[in-house]
């Protein structure tokens, strides 16, 4: 009798298991189809650093105080700048980041008084050579600005990027919003 009860109990639990898996079968999938879609990184995600722009002028906030260069424990930042005509401060001409050495400690972001650098949310970094990770952040900044301008001028592309929502989050729109928010704290 005991054996029969055991068989019955075991069989019933098997059926319960099968009901649960069948329930999952008919529910929508939860995976992100990675190469076609990518996840939106959370706000505090630490990608490599990037320059923050001034929303009014559209130029980097950085005035080449080189605090970040000095704060960096791995010596992977190299900032150069020049004083342009009529400006009170220097403006950045080259911001080289050797991402192969960077450990994302965040000392540079912490030390920056202007809030001119921040962590990007880039995480799809892959390359075949070391040189691909010697980043020029000024060029990157200019490319971002151009993309933002193109977005404003051509709202059609906005529709397109809204369609591929997940991947579009990474790109210019997010940058623009971030730049406006960060720029607000600048005097």
């Amino acid at each position: 009798m005991n054996a029969l009860r055991e068989i019955y109990g075991g069989f019933k639990s098997l059926l319960i298991g099968m009901r649960i898996t069948l329930g999952q079968f008919f529910r929508p999938t939860v995976t992100v189809r990675y190469p076609h879609q990518s996840l939106k990184m959370p706000p505090r995600y630490r990608g490599h650093i990037e320059l923050v722009g001034n929303p009014e002028t559209g130029k980097p906030l950085c005035f080449v105080c080189k605090l970040c260069e000095r704060a960096c424990p791995s010596d992977c930042i190299n900032v150069e700048g020049a004083k342009l005509e009529g400006d009170k401060r220097k403006s950045v001409t080259s911001y080289k980041l050797d991402f192969t050495k960077c450990s994302l400690c965040g000392s540079c972001v912490e030390v920056c008084r202007e809030g001119a650098i921040r962590f990007s949310r880039d995480y799809n970094l892959a390359g075949l050579t070391k040189e691909e990770f010697l980043l020029d952040l000024v060029k990157r900044f200019q490319a971002q600005q151009a993309a933002v301008k193109a977005e404003i001028r051509n709202p059609k592309s906005e529709v397109r990027s809204a369609k591929s929502e997940l991947s579009a989050e990474q790109k210019p729109q997010g940058q623009l919003a971030g730049a406006v928010k960060d720029g607000g704290s600048v005097s």
Binding site: T21, L22, F25
Partner: protein, 343 residues
Amino acid sequence: MNALFSKVITVLDTEPYRLVVWVVAIVSFVALNAAYLVWVERKGAGRFQRRPGPTEVGPAGLLQPVADGLKLMSKQLLVPAGADSMLFRGAPLLVMAPVLMSLAVIPFGRGLAAVNLNVGLLMVFALGPINLMAIMFGAWSSRNKYAVMSAARVVSQNVAYEIPMLLVVTTIAMVSGTMDLNQIVEQQSGAFWHWNLFRVWVNPLMPVTFLIFYICMLAETNRAPFDMVEAESELVAGAYTEYAGMGFGVFFMAEYANIVLGCSLATVLFLGGWQSPFSFMPGVTWFLIKMYFLIFSVVWIRWTFPRTQFYGLLNLSWKILIPVSLFTLILSAAMIKMLRAPS
């Protein structure tokens, strides 16, 4: 046009052509099923785990089996040094042959069987163990001790499950009074409670015999949760360790072909074959619906339960399935003796 068509049919129904047509039909049925059940399996596995499954090759990944096949065919066929090359090469052929032969007697519809054998049931079970022998040959001839160990496990597993399966089938043969698969299906005509699965007035344990048959079918085809032969997460490939390329591919396809055979046999014996409660579709459709439902259940079971341990597997057979199936056999014998008027 119609006259031509019927003439072609008549010609094709005469002896030498009929044979060719059936051989081509069965081989293509088995091959297509084996290829596309892999896709069904992968899609099913994906859905059960809330993933989409294969999506990249073709629409909804439908060309995935083609890609897999091409990949396997482009691999070198290796015969390990010191292996018995003839047996090693022959084993994949031998594993596929019994399935093809057994399908010849399965009635897919009314009169739709390659051979109307009056001992069809016997033939299927006579050919069944050849598949097991082929796995053993493959492992033995590959001169790999791990493969031989796996083969020993396969043999003990299959022998253990052959017994309750045959006892259950004997029960069915006794209840039906025939071994002709066509007649077994004919007897289940009418409403669905005439199916052997629900014929509780013949033997109150009929649903239990179906369960035993289904469990044994899973074990005989080496499917999860009884897939100790291959056990892809633990062993390299069990008995197929030394096989490369399409040699392995054929074993893999034979597994699915065996599932098709097992599920069609379960349909014929328990679910009324081509019989249907409604009369709006041809019998073949009903047969296929029932068969594919059983196949889906095989996938469903695989992705629900973890693999059993080996002693658990043998305990299940020797301590539960064999006593229960013996009991049902004796019970139905007693009921036939007592309830049926001596003729």
